[in-house]
Amino acid sequence: MLGYILRRLIATLPVMLIVAVFVFLMLRMTPGDPAAIIAGDNANSEQVALIRNRLGLDEPILSQFFIWFANMLHGDFGESFFFKKTVAELIASRLEPTLALSVVTIIIAVGVSVPLGVLAAYKQGSLIDKVVMGFSVLGFSVPVFVIGYSLIYLFAIKLNWLPVQGYQRIADGFGGFLQRLILPAITLSVIYIALIARITRTSVLDVMNEDYIRTARAKGQVEIKVLFKHALKNAAVPIVTVIGLGVALLIGGVVVTESVFTIPGLGRLTVDAVLARDYPTIQAVILLFSLVYVLINLAVDLVYTVFDPRIRY
């Protein structure tokens, strides 16, 4: 197992290298010049050229790449063109809100969707099944901002239970932290509840007619144990895959939800950096997202072994 993990981790290196080259080249090929943006409306060509020189953007692309890559190998991701801060500092400051939102969203989504999916499978064809599947379709169809604004209108403006927007760091108080995270996490979890409930239902239905389920029932196991211990465990592999992808997507940034609820997360940092053509920041966050995807895929593969002992690495 350890050897497998090491091999997978080593295999991430060429992946990251390809991503680094790809992102670097894409950014240089995309229209938009950070120097012109920094120079502002009243600048003439000379001033723009001067800024380009100071940022090192007038160097040949290969030279720019090797300087960036060499610095990155030393853990230096550079300084943002706009913020007078290092990229590492910027990302670090945005990591907590993104992680917090992702974790709370996944907890809500899994906590609600898995029992719902199992219940829908158990009651296949019944009203409960139809309601769960109906909610699932709705969850996919309604845009996230509509859900967000609706929740804000009800719980913040009409009932005045929760704040409209903002993020409070855990260090500044857990109550406030949770209170500001509830609405965005519920908003985001709707689509994941829909997705995971659907997958759970299908997966559980697939195993409900297996011999071991019949055996468990014949042994006199109570139905809830049959469902959650025998059926769900054997149906878990596709569910874990979907949850893993969901976590990766969440950490990769959920721009709309972050904007609607004013959460200073990585999604908004990425969009702001792209709009401003802040090359060092974009390069670093895309690399980070790629790394997250690779690591979460590895984690999902490892979790498979817990649910299915036949899987060996």
Binding site: K84, Y153, N160, V164, Q165, G176, Q179, R180, R268
Partner: protein, 522 residues
């Protein structure tokens, strides 16, 4: 039963107060942008100008009526030949770190700003010597009389001559400063600044306000709150919701189409604090067909009309005026001389001009910024009106940053070049022919579009040298008439941006830039 349950839940949530009610000494504002750069000399970004007015002070400033008034300067005098200007600083001015403000600090500040700002560069081109004979005296010796010394030192809008300590002002003008010590009414809390989230300012207890009442950006700047939080809320609808819910006290730039949401709210008020507002404009690239011909550019003035363009962007006439003056309506140089018959969508006249100019059907490559709603809406209306006049228009959509880059390119139209784009600017940035950068017609040295007209440059230069306001006004009118012969850009109407604030916020000032002093949260 349901109402009892609601009461219980409300109580539970009340245990975790979320700060919906302001502490009486903190003002929470949502501004038009996130504060990304904190060096107001290095960038022309409006949000950084707002930041500058919080923590720095200026030698001179514009009052509510846009008249120049001394600010850090106590008194000043000019020699009879108008070549030597002497400015004496007020007593007791201090930097945030407690050190006294000296004339040497101001000289270094003017030099750094003068190396970056277009108006500053113009002023410095007239300056033979800038010195500090003693701690409170700044002496500026000119090579020849210059009519805009005070207007330049008092300029608001983009790139304001803010005063900084000498050690800060000696930073290379092409590099950002890292020391945010100022002498303004608030102190920047760099340790609490979280880009993308918030910027925090606290009251400067050492600030010595002028004795006159606050007026515009001049007069006594008294910080009446202990703390100002700039909360960055990217989503306009969320800004409105936060204001309604009492989570913020003030919105600087609520979109016009969302104003009805709060217009009827008994806790919220709408008001305009910058009546000069903004002017919409179309900028031409004179290097390539079809706009290399001034008559074809003039045909655009006949094809367009300001009402349609303002309706598309602002909607309610309550917030805009049709203004055919080159310099903003309401400003000292306002005049419609020569322009009354234009912006009437007189398509027959526009077609006649096109024919006279030999327009060969070359498409106008009109760049449309799609991520700024006001500019995005302008473009299709402009296209439609131009086509009705006989132009062929190739509308090309892109984000603003792509547009900003592309407009610097002089390439031909078939190689990524452009013919025109639409923009808007603060009226205080275009108060006279020198300040209006789009009137710069010095060919390669001009900003993008590169107009090249010796006559226009002669008039701008004459304006800069003229010291008599009456004669200046006459020259400004001549510039406006010259614009008919040689259009560098066209003015497409003027609008104001109302601010939305809770009624417990009092003392907001009418000013050409955002002024957050003098405000109380009751």
């Amino acid at each position: 039963m349901v109402s009892r349950l609601l009461k219980i839940v409300t109580l539970v949530f009340a245990v975790f107060a979320f700060g919906g009610v302001a502490n009486g000494k903190t003002l929470r504002v949502a501004l038009h942008s996130d504060l990304k750069i904190v060096d107001p000399i290095w960038t022309t970004a409006l949000i950084t100008v707002n930041h500058g007015y919080m923590i720095y002070d200026t030698l001179f400033a514009l009052d509510q009526k846009l008249a120049v008034k001394p600010q850090m300067v106590d008194r000043y005098e000019t020699s009879a030949d108008k070549l030597t200007w002497t400015f004496i600083l007020r007593d007791g001015l201090e930097w945030h770190d407690g050190a006294p403000v000296t004339a040497e600090d101001c000289v270094a500040s003017i030099k750094r700003w003068g190396a970056r700002d277009a108006m500053g560069q113009k002023l410095m081109s007239f300056v033979a010597d800038l010195s500090a004979p003693d701690a409170k005296t700044i002496r500026m010796t000119l090579r020849e009389p210059y009519g805009l010394v005070l207007q330049t030192l008092a300029k608001p809008g983009a790139s304001v001559p803010f005063m900084m300590p000498k050690r800060v002002a000696e930073t290379d003008p092409q590099k950002q400063i890292t020391d945010y010590t100022g002498s303004g009414p608030f102190i920047f809390k760099a340790d609490e600044w979280r880009p993308g989230e918030k910027a925090v300012y606290i009251k400067n207890p050492k600030y010595k306000p002028r004795s006159e009442p606050a007026s515009g950006l001049a007069g006594g700047k008294i910080a009446k709150v202990d703390r100002v939080d700039w909360i960055w809320i990217a989503d306009a609808q969320t800004q409105m919701n936060a204001l309604i819910n009492g989570e913020i006290d003030f919105i600087e730039a609520p979109p016009h189409d969302l104003l009805p949401l709060v217009a009827e709210d008994k806790n919220i008020e709408l008001a305009v604090f910058n009546p000069a507002g903004r002017q919409q404009a179309i900028r031409f690239n004179v290097l390539h067909k079809p706009f290399d011909n001034p008559k074809i550019r003039l045909a655009v003035a006949y094809a367009l009309n300001q009402k349609d363009l303002l309706d598309a962007v602002i909607g309610s006439p309550k917030w805009y005026i049709e203004c055919k003056s080159l310099f903003p309506c309401g400003s000292p140089l306002q005049s419609t001389k020569g322009w009354d018959d234009k912006f009437t969508s007189d398509f027959a006249k526009a077609r006649a001009l096109l024919q006279e100019a030999g327009y060969d059907g070359t498409p106008v490559v009109l760049m449309q910024s799609t991520d700024i709603s006001s500019l995005s809406n302008l473009a299709p209306v402009t296209k439609s009106l131009l086509e009705k006049a006989g132009f062929k228009v190739d509308l090309q959509a892109m984000d603003w940053q792509t547009l900003v880059t592309r407009r610097t390119k002089k390439d031909p139209l078939n190689a990524g070049g452009w013919s025109a784009f639409l923009t808007s600017w603060a009226s205080v940035d275009i108060l006279d022919p020198v300040a209006t950068s789009y009137l710069n017609a010095s060919c390669d040295k001009a900003t993008f579009g590169w107009p090249c007209d010796a006559e226009m440059e002669k008039l701008r230069d004459a304006y800069a040298r003229e010291t008599d306001p009456t004669k200046q006004k006459a020259i400004a009118e001549a510039v406006q008439l010259r614009l008919i012969e040689y259009p560098t850009h066209l003015m497409l109407g003027q609008y104001v941006q109302p601010q939305a604030f809770r009624k417990n916020v009092v003392g907001l000032l009418e000013a050409p830039s955002l002024a957050l002093w003098n405000i109380e949260v009751k």
